[in-house]
């Protein structure tokens, strides 16, 4: 019996119903800021700043933010930059993490604990600490304001977590299947393809989703290095904070647009994320 799908023995219907109500209330309260922001995005600026609703709802603000002053960062440019950077960096992360996980789980190197610790320890370095050396060398190599520099940095940001998570998913693969493949003499690549990946697929999907989330939402490197060129979505959202008059409705529309792709992806994949995490993130 799958947990969470049936009322178990001893649980009274009324308690379960009561829990349901509590969960609904909490869920709605928790989502309120987001829901209110989406609601505001359909208002006029005057209504938005006064928190009233005298002038009706429309898609007007979405139109406003999609059109940009020529020569300034447009939604289309920022979206393309973000999309390319996120997809390319995630693909590279997976290409690097899968073999690394193999070398830490299936046929582990002797010092696998130290290696794992090293990967995680790189996340203890504050990004702000290394920004100036990175800026100096990126400037030297003409990488400031390019998609390349962001791809490089985002891979470094996501790789540790990807290695760690993928390793635990690989640990879930039954030993017998791997030994069978080894006895057959299949190469590493074929082992991965035919045995390991199909079984670890939900976990790898969860890992990829986390990489996409973190890369899409990344702000610091994006604005410190790509302020002038190859700017990404977070910078585009901020650019809607205007000093000319009220901007709350436009900002709400911009925020909704910017967050929508990752939110939809997360919603679609949430069951897979939970299954992936319960499968092996911990074992």
């Amino acid at each position: 019996m799958k947990r969470g799908t049936r009322i178990g023995v001893g649980e009274r219907r009324s308690i379960v119903a009561g829990i349901g109500v509590v969960a609904w209330v909490i869920g709605l309260l928790w989502i309120f800021p987001v829901a209110w922001t989406v609601f505001t995005s359909f208002k006029t600026e005057q209504d938005a700043s006064a928190q009233t609703l005298h002038q009706g709802l429309s898609f007007g603000r979405y139109g406003d933010v999609s059109r940009s002053i020529p020569g300034t960062l447009s939604l289309q440019a920022a979206f393309t930059n973000s999309l390319v950077v996120v997809l390319v960096s995630t693909v590279i992360v997976l290409l690097l993490a899968l073999p690394a996980a193999y070398a830490l789980a299936i046929r582990p190197v002797h010092k696998w604990r130290d290696v794992l610790f090293f990967f995680i320890s790189t996340k203890f370095l504050p990004v702000v600490a290394s920004i100036f050396p990175i800026y100096v060398y990126a400037e030297k190599w003409n990488l400031i304001g390019t998609r390349t520099i962001l791809v490089i940095l985002y891979v470094a940001i996501n790789l540790p977590l990807a290695v760690w998570m993928t390793r635990s998913f690989f640990m879930e693969v039954p030993r017998e299947l791997i030994e069978a493949a080894e006895i057959d003499g299949t190469s590493l690549v074929n082992q991965l393809r035919s045995v390991i990946l199909p079984l670890a697929a939900p976990g790898i999907a969860a890992t990829a989703l986390l990489c996409v989330i973190f890369a899409w939402n990344e702000y610091f490197y994006a604005i410190q290095l790509n302020f002038a060129n190859a700017s990404t979505m977070p910078q585009w959202v901020i650019s809607n904070v205007s000093t000319r008059g009220n901007f709350l409705a436009k900002l709400s529309a911009a925020s909704t647009i910017a967050c929508l792709p990752v939110v939809l992806a997360g919603w679609a994949a949430q069951k897979r994320m939970i299954r992936g995490l319960s499968m092996g993130a911990l074992k």
Partner: protein, 311 residues
């Protein structure tokens, strides 16, 4: 399958070529080399800068040549009261945010662990804050919720006849922690949910049949099982929350009570101080502290791995 078993299994194989150790290392090398190159090299350069008086050229009217000044930068750190303040703020911010989000996340996970009408929808709604851009989350709370000019909370307070509260100005740390908890609770919830759903259902059934109370089941069976998941959540959450930057930049711009260590280093460096040499020294000190704390965290990790080997 455990790592120890794997070791044993592979040692016993016949016909391993003499370079088997290197063949094992090979798949690991691309990722390892990449991380070393991208993270350690800037770190080394930072070490070099930290022994100099490197500043942005705009900071001196007469060009000041960059020269080696030994450990002067480091000496200054330990007499800097504002750095101590930042460390204390970092500690408060991280502990509060991690503990609160873990607590609330566990409560949510327990709620969602039962079937009720709309369970999937509620879970979807609860996950959403984690998926938002941190800058968007901070802007939503700053402009829509906390703002005294436009914010909805202000209107609600006034409607109830209460005085306005300048949330961000009067409670900067609380405002930042609120946003952090709001965003990271779903992450904790997912981890704990995974833990709850990996609990073997038949043991719970048996306990129920035996007449154990819900609270008893939770304490004796569920909580021990969840311990590893709680530790994982705390560890991962701390790693990310201690780096919190976006919310501070957007909501308070630093200031007493909300400047954590990353933000302080940023202010010293490209955020206005432009004292790159000095900022590098701060960064190195932070890294040293982080390694010390990480070694402590390694013990937690080891217990996670130890459990694996026992399993």
């Amino acid at each position: 399958m455990t790592a120890a078993a794997a070791d044993v299994a592979l040692k016993g194989r016949v016909g391993d070529p003499f370079s088997s150790a290197w063949r094992r290392r090979l798949p690991l090398l691309p990722a390892l080399v990449y991380m070393i190159a991208i993270t350690q090299l800037p770190f080394l350069v930072s070490i070099y800068y930290s022994f100099t008086n490197l500043k942005d050229k705009t900071q001196s009217l007469i060009p000041e040549p960059t020269r080696f000044i030994g450990i002067d930068n480091y000496k200054q750190i330990f007499s800097d009261p504002f750095f101590r303040q930042a460390v204390w703020t970092s500690l408060k911010m991280t502990v509060l945010a991690v503990l609160l989000s873990l607590l609330i996340g566990t409560l949510f996970a327990l709620l969602l662990d039962r079937k009720f009408l709309g369970q999937g929808l509620i879970r979807t709604l609860l996950i959403t804050p984690f998926l938002l851009m941190p800058v968007v989350a901070a802007l939503i709370w700053k402009q829509q919720m906390f703002s005294s000019l436009f914010g909805i909370l202000d209107k609600v307070l006034n409607f109830l006849g209460l005085n306005s509260v300048a949330f961000i100005s009067s409670h900067p740390l609380g405002s930042i922690v609120t946003v952090l908890v709001w965003q990271w609770t779903p992450f904790m919830m997912l981890i704990i949910l995974a833990g709850l759903q990996s609990q073997p259902g038949d043991i719970i059934e048996a306990a129920n049949v035996d007449g154990a109370s819900a609270v008893g089941i939770f304490r004796q069976l569920t909580l021990p099982h969840l311990r590893r998941y709680l530790e994982l959540g705390a560890l991962l959450g701390s790693i990310f929350i201690v780096q919190a930057f976006d919310a501070i930049d957007v909501m308070t711009g630093g200031g007493p009570g909300s400047t954590n260590v990353p933000y302080y280093v940023y202010q010293e460096s490209i955020g206005g101080g432009f004292r790159y040499g000095s900022a590098s020294a701060y960064a190195i000190v932070v890294v040293i502290f982080a390694i010390i704390i990480a070694t402590f965290a390694l013990r937690v990790l080891s217990s996670l791995f130890a459990d694996e080997e026992r399993a």
